[in-house]
Assembly symmetry: C2
Homo-oligomer: 186 residues x 2
């Protein structure tokens, strides 16, 4: 079950390493980005991890929804990993406009292992097809949820956002989903 291994890899090789530094990175970022800074709110101290059911991932969130725009990156974190000296880990910060045109800020990204699931479903030699893929995304989501709920390193530092692609025809589907999660925390 590919999704099971990818969820563990995402936790062991990334979230467990970076989430403990997130709050410090955000504090550093806010100190250097004060002028006219938009509303951070309480929800945005967590990493928003976007999980679209169709595994259809773009590389720039602003291309998904006009109400989202790239703000800046958090400061780089460098960690020696498996022979790569000072491997760089960073997150991107975005602004999102609500229905009143007010800007909110969040730190977010797609769950990169979904790119592997998507690409594997396109390669015949990889062993699973498009019909299997949705099931694998759900398995990835549930496994990751389970791992993170039991992780002391990650507790309260993330938000898993499962995106149901049935609403893909709504051009503001993504920003609305993010705003809902931001508002839930305030």
């Amino acid at each position: 079950n590919v999704a099971h291994g990818l969820a563990w890899s995402f936790y062991l090789g990334y979230l467990r390493l970076v989430l403990p530094y997130l709050e410090t990175s955000i504090a550093e970022f806010r100190a250097t980005h004060r002028a006219g800074g938009p509303n951070w709110g309480r929800g945005s101290k967590k990493l928003f991890i976007l999980i679209p059911l169709n595994a259809n991932i773009t590389h720039k969130l602003e291309e998904e929804d006009e109400n989202i725009c790239f703000y800046d990156n958090l400061p780089n974190k460098e960690i020696d990993r498996a022979g790569v000296r000072g491997r760089v880990y960073k997150h991107s910060v975005y602004k999102v406009l609500d229905e009143h045109g007010k800007a909110h800020v969040f730190v977010g990204e797609y769950a990169t292992p979904l790119l592997t699931l998507y690409n594997m479903s396109q390669e015949s030699s990889a062993g699973f097809g498009e019909s299997e893929r949705r099931h694998q995304v759900l398995l990835f989501y549930r496994t990751l949820q389970d791992i993170l709920e039991h992780s002391l390193d990650c507790r309260n530092r993330y938000r898993l956002i499962l995106l149901n692609d049935e609403h893909d025809d709504d051009p503001h589907f993504l920003s609305k989903a993010i705003l809902r999660h931001l508002q839930q925390q305030e």
Copy 2:
């Protein structure tokens, strides 16, 4: 089979992206590191991917073997990936001394997914133990070998180095393995 998914992920999410840029990065590096530069030779235009059978990976190669020392990093490559703007990919360059004390250069790193295999074998909830791990490392190696042999993007740009840990008591086991591969290419 966790190893199958991790091998595909390593190819689709990393090697396929970075290997096409390797030769250019090395050329850039050599242009900025001319003074008293050690012997690059023909073998070292490939990424040496180290795969220890026991999945026992250190974060600094020089800690494994005194004949190896860190030289510098190749220039960073920035790629927008899944919402992370300008995610940084880099490789480390090392010097290795042969039995005559002459220095050779190579670009190398451990296969990062082996860290996931190792850590999963330590977490009881992840579903496999230490006895299963060696089998998974071999499966990872064979699957990766198969994928890379059929990949036009990666052809001739890598060297998979399987490290049999039976020789772990030899303090220069790693440098000797690397030198053998370097010499095979000259």
